[in-house]
Symmetry: C2
Subunit: 401 residues, 2 copies
């Protein structure tokens, strides 16, 4: 029997023992890259914009020709042409001249700024009265302002959202290198567990874990594979673990809520591979098991859904981030507690919280209670050495999703 370890120690073991698990890089089309993790740095192959562009409709000018202009004392420039959107500006601007230009149009040679059409008076062409001075590069996006050739625009590991998709489109990246999604097998064990379909026989409970873990694994950017409900029986668990290990990078075995069943899971992991830890000083999550079979990471999770959920977030998510090479996507905000929270005597605690008018309020519930997860806005991690928290103490809330 291994001794109970701290969460930090468990994370260290996971980091060291599973460092060989790395996602491959695959190429997907831009629209399918959303939510994925960049598998390579993205470099710009050009300046964007490729030329100085007008950001308004108006007249391209030399700023100094407009200095001192006002409604009462306008400057007088000569309109010598027009630059159509999407066309190369061939004209050169001479002193005292201006050229009509549309938003997005290319600034002609010698011009450095654009006077908005609202600040001009062209009643008597080719005369253009400038009613307001502009400064150099006013109303102009300069060549390379957005991205310079050779710049690393995004580093490997960045998660792609619609905003990055826009940048990738601007770079002409219709195909994007992304980290392949890790495969995660999900096994739910327990004699008391039945399918969520149909009536529940008295004394049994529905298989929540397959569904909540599968959904979570999906949200974490992996491909879940469900192996169904396995009875608390050595051979059945042995065979399903063996199969799941052969088909996945990570295997989660939830349940075995009785000590005997948990020991059986630990024994099977030890027989098929190596057992690293059995028991963790974390609340919820105490009966967690971590081991390795055939270079794959195997986790024994508590049977209680909320506990299994928290252990997956606390231990499995960092491993997934490492496999993907992904920057952590956890988003934390600070707030002040609305009530005291007592100490855990050496165990780290993960606690659901919600934002209320007066601050951050703990959502208490037994670990078997599943609705507390959906009633909360996120969770806090209370250090195992914490002597308790007081009302008004500042806490970091890790937001859901």
């Amino acid at each position: 029997m291994l001794k109970v370890v701290s969460t930090e120690k468990a994370l260290e073991i996971i980091r060291e023992e599973f460092s060989h698990i790395k996602a491959q890089t695959e190429t997907v089309i831009l629209s399918e890259s959303i939510g994925r993790t960049l598998g390579d740095d993205i470099l710009s192959e050009e300046n964007i914009p490729a030329f100085n562009r007008s950001t308004v409709d108006g007249f391209a000018v030399r700023a100094k020709d407009t200095y001192g202009s006002s409604e009462s004392v306008p400057s007088q420039l000569e309109i010598t042409g027009e630059i159509l959107m999407g066309e190369k500006a061939e004209a050169k601007l001479g002193e005292g001249e201006c050229i009509r230009i549309s938003t997005g149009g290319m600034i002609p040679e010698n011009a450095d700024s654009v006077v908005m059409v609202e600040h001009t008076d062209c009643t008597f062409p080719p005369v253009c009265l400038i009613l307001k001075a502009v400064s150099p590069f006013e109303n102009v996006t300069k060549k390379g302002d957005d991205t310079r050739k050779g710049d690393v625009v995004f580093k490997k590991g960045k998660v792609i959202s619609s905003r990055e998709a826009g940048v990738l489109a601007s770079l002409g990246r219709s195909k994007v290198p992304v980290a392949s999604k890790p495969r995660v097998g999900i096994i739910s064990t327990g004699d008391e567990i039945v399918s969520i379909e149909g009536k529940v026989p008295f004394g049994k409970i529905r298989d929540i874990n397959t569904h909540i873990l599968s959904a979570l694994i999906n949200e974490l950017g992996c491909i879940p594979k469900e192996y169904g409900i396995i009875r608390d029986n050595y051979d059945d668990i042995y065979n399903s673990v063996k199969k799941a290990v052969s088909e996945n990078d990570i295997v989660l075995i939830s349940g075995g809520s009785s000590a005997g069943a948990r020991d059986m899971t630990a024994e099977i992991i030890g027989t098929l591979g190596e057992l690293y830890l059995h028991g963790i000083a974390m609340k919820p999550g105490k009966p967690t098991i971590v081991g390795r079979i055939d270079q794959k990471a195997v986790f024994g999770l508590p049977g209680h859904p909320a506990a299994a959920y928290f252990v997956t977030l606390r231990l499995v998510k960092p491993l997934i981030d490492t496999i993907l090479g992904r920057n952590s996507t956890d988003r934390a905000v600070t707030g002040r507690l609305t009530q005291n929270i007592s100490s855990n005597h050496g165990r780290e605690e993960l606690l659901c919280v919600k934002f209320t008018a007066d601050g951050v309020t703990p959502v208490f519930g037994k670990s078997g209670i599943i609705s507390l997860l959906s009633e909360s806005d996120g969770y806090i991690i209370i250090d195992r050495n914490c002597e308790g928290l007081k009302q008004g103490d500042e806490v970091h809330v890790i937001l859901w999703n």
Copy 2:
């Protein structure tokens, strides 16, 4: 020409004129409901748990039989049986008796609490020494503690995450009623716009809007349909708008960055249907157009990607939320500005910001610059009547995603 309206007025017009657009409800399997919006209230048809359950391995007892127990002065109870996990507890507990029970086991009649196995000594069965007193319902999840029969567990409009999936599984909901995804047609117009594939001819720019808007519409829970790049030509725009309107609930026409092109889009909307507004007192987003064709909502968005993105978030997202009956998913946190921001003189401003060590820092950039979106953590909305903001002022940051 319609006059420029405030953002509030534009939102009011959108709310009133498009109130007839409502999503249908469809049924999907649980694993496919993640990220979707509930189309109906979810009621519990039973108590969960259906019986009092033990949350630990130990002995079911009557709490009062343990009062005063300690390591030095243990109580002495008689073990009269064992309740196996997943079995109906048939036994009744008599005075001075206890029954062995596993985590998840059903508490027998007359028992009200469980003593953890660690706090017992069973060296001489059938005697069980109780080394620590328990209070009533200690280590027990009571029947209906999680959900009571008839309770509205989730209201229509809630977005389903893995946490809700867990609750739905606990209720036996293998199929879930969700709002059907609205269909959103995306048209990118402009003579200067070219496909993101291949080299860009001089003076042209890549079609960012199709990709950033398509990705955003997807993130907002809708089905984007791309209609490609349409030249600034009345007939081409007319035909593509007509087609897009017939196939979608909402149509976004981006581009037409020149005033002439914008007027053409507005004219086409007016010809095919009704034009509600052309111009909005918002920065970025001034040249926005809103109209209706055949009961569908049609938006003319600015050509600049960042501006088109912000207008979609500010005006189209609330419409999508209403169509889906979805609670807004915007998540805002407060922070203090690290610098002054000048007034907009009557225009509402949407400004990208990022969190830095000293607070909330604006990410400035011209509206044509697309990378500022991906460099920021979210955005703030500065009221049109705001006389400018000062360093240290508290602002609400709407987080990306």
